[in-house]
């Protein structure tokens, strides 16, 4: 079943077309990758789908429902969780508190129940904490042990993981990961790849943006390649790695020509 389907998606910044008429889809349960050189429009694509930017053309459907240009909080409520590049997190909060924030759209307590501290809101707070712990446990990699230390004092990697845990705690049907393994060492990358597979195995579809070709080739089932806002290829890792246009985009025209000759 189609989970995400984008048609002619376009985003401009003045004269620059950052995402140009891109069509793509992601099926439920897939591990779908998006790659491209710096400035090719990967993050802009994420931001346009998740409502951070307003699109300049095209449509995005989620489970068949049009979600084009909905505000970010509504898109999240529909079931799209995301992380941000550069491990954006709530810096002065602890991982546990960070992840508890993520439960927001799945809980209901409001101003009144906060003031009176009704039994309902107390139960819900307890449940929020439990669910947050589940998300921390799913991520693992030392995050549970660090749950009560302000994220500010933790390593960059821990911040990235906290970001993933926040997105997971929103009960997403699909999770968008924007360069989750940036700044990780090889061992951590291996663990993170395991984590991404684990997330998918819990039934969450994964849409992964990555720079690290090796990592993405290793786990994605299908990959789309962007270059200067255009979609230049789509296919299995095998197909992508042999695609001439992709090789050129990454390594330059000359190198592409050489490999063709060789």
């Amino acid at each position: 079943m189609r989970l995400i389907e984008a048609n002619n998606l376009t985003k401009r910044f003045g004269g620059l077309v950052a995402v140009n008429n891109v069509d793509f889809y992601i099926d439920e349960g897939e591990l779908f990758g998006l790659i491209g050189p710096n400035g090719s429009g990967k993050t802009v694509m994420f931001n346009t789908i998740t409502g951070i930017y307003k699109s300049d053309g095209g449509k995005v459907a989620f489970s068949g429902e049009d979600i084009t240009d909905l505000p970010p909080h509504k898109i999240n409520a529909k079931g799209i969780g995301r992380t941000f590049q550069g491990s954006k997190v709530f810096l002065s909060l602890t991982p546990l508190q960070n992840v508890m924030v993520g439960r927001h759209c799945r809980t209901k307590s409001h101003l009144g129940s906060a003031l009176v501290r009704t039994g309902f809101s107390r139960r819900e707070d307890r449940e929020t904490e439990e669910k947050a712990m589940h998300a921390l446990e799913l991520v693992g990699m030392g995050l549970v042990e660090a749950k009560d230390i302000p994220v500010m004092a933790l390593t960059y990697v821990m911040r990235s993981l906290t970001g993933i845990a926040i997105a997971l705690s929103t009960d997403p049907k699909i999770i968008f990961l924007d360069e989750p393994i940036a700044g990780m060492n090889p061992t951590e990358i291996t663990q993170a790849m395991e984590l991404i597979k684990r997330i998918r195995d819990t039934g969450i579809t994964v849409f992964l943006v990555e720079h690290n070709m090796k990592a993405i080739m290793g786990i994605c089932e299908r990959i789309m390649v962007l270059n200067m806002g255009y979609k230049i290829a789509e296919g299995t890792p095998q197909e992508i790695s042999q695609n001439e246009e992709v090789v050129q985009a990454y390594l330059g025209r000359e190198y592409g020509a050489e490999t063709k000759q060789g």
């Binding site: 998740t50 909080h73 409520a77 954006k88 709530f90």
Partner: protein
């Protein structure tokens, strides 16, 4: 969690007990301080409310003190002109402040950071201009006087009865701390703090940031209005200068010195900004220079205020005891 709640209940108990003996403590220092402490209490309500929008929601709301003014003018006017009972007048004034706060929020909360701050500064000046120039209603520069005093049954809170006023002001202060505390430690509070930390991430985490900023603005304006209404009733008079740029800066300075985003910070801040002028009285016209220097020292050396110092001391103590437990 439960023991945490019990600890908190205990903290409130200590607070109430402190307030009960407060007039006697101040009396020891000299009864001249009694007046200052009534103002500390009333001004504390303003700083506590500012803390909700500034310290917890992260919005630099410069117009906040104008809500204090609207609470004061609003309750005084319905009291003077319509003869409304004080307590009802206080509520009406606070509701007016809440409404104006919501309007300012509706106009400017779409903006972020310094743009929001500048817009609210404009509102502060705008409200100041209205209060100064709508002489028929507000009495212009001279302001309003003969503001009705509160009373319960036959007991009237005369301003000369400082002890009664300290209880009244600090009673409302504890109530506003309680309200802010309840809000902050809830699902809604988590949303507000998330907005303070990172608004984009908060949005993508399913939080309708504009709505929550509006709610925060409305409640903090309402509470500021309560503080203003009490101030007017205590002083018996209210002028545009009471809610202009200088008190606005003082409220923010107090919040920074006490510790933004903490429960006790704004109260400590209110003590600071109201006691400093008295303590520095000898310096005469140099007072603002002294105050400026103290403020700068605070920002450089204690950016998280008094509460920040306490927090880091406690953290250090905890680290030491945990080392002991491990047996190092």
């Amino acid at each position: 969690m439960r023991s945490f709640m019990r600890k908190k209940g205990f903290a409130y108990l200590v607070g109430v007990a402190l307030v009960a003996v407060l007039p006697h403590l101040i009396g020891l220092a000299g009864s001249a301080w009694m007046h200052t402490f009534v103002i500390v209490g009333v001004y504390g309500i303003l700083t506590v409310s500012l803390n909700l929008i500034r310290g917890y929601t992260g919005q630099i709301c410069i117009s906040h003190v104008a809500m204090y003014g609207i609470g004061a003018y609003g309750s005084a006017l319905v009291g003077i002109k319509l003869g409304v009972n004080f307590w009802l007048a206080l509520l009406i004034g606070a509701l007016m402040a809440g409404m104006v706060g919501l309007f300012i929020g509706w106009v400017s909360l779409g903006l972020r950071g310094v743009y929001f701050a500048i817009t609210t500064l404009a509102f502060l000046r705008l409200i100041g201009a209205i209060l100064t120039n709508w002489i028929g209603l507000t009495g212009g520069e001279v302001g309003l006087y003969g503001v009705p005093r509160p009373s319960i049954g036959g007991f009237v809170f005369e301003p000369t009865n400082r002890v009664a006023w300290i209880y009244l002001a600090f009673g409302f202060l504890i109530l506003s701390v309680f309200i802010v505390d309840r809000i902050v430690n809830s699902r809604m509070g988590r949303a507000l703090i998330a907005i303070r930390e990172d608004e984009d991430l908060a949005k993508s985490t399913g939080i309708n940031t504009f709505n929550y900023k509006m709610i925060s603005m409305g409640i903090s304006s309402f509470l500021a209005g309560i503080g203003g209404g009490l101030y007017g009733a205590y002083m018996g008079t209210i002028t545009p200068a009471d809610c202009a740029v200088i008190p606005s800066v003082m409220a923010m300075a107090g919040l920074v010195m006490g510790g933004q985003g903490t429960m006790l910070g704004p109260i400590i801040g209110s003590v600071f900004v109201n006691l400093l002028p008295e303590l520095l009285r000898l310096t005469g016209e140099y007072y603002f220079i002294m105050f400026g220097v103290i403020m700068i020292l605070f920002i450089i050396f204690l950016p998280r205020g008094v509460m920040g110092v306490i927090a880091s001391l406690r953290a250090r103590l905890r680290a030491r005891t945990s080392i002991k437990e491990v047996g190092v």
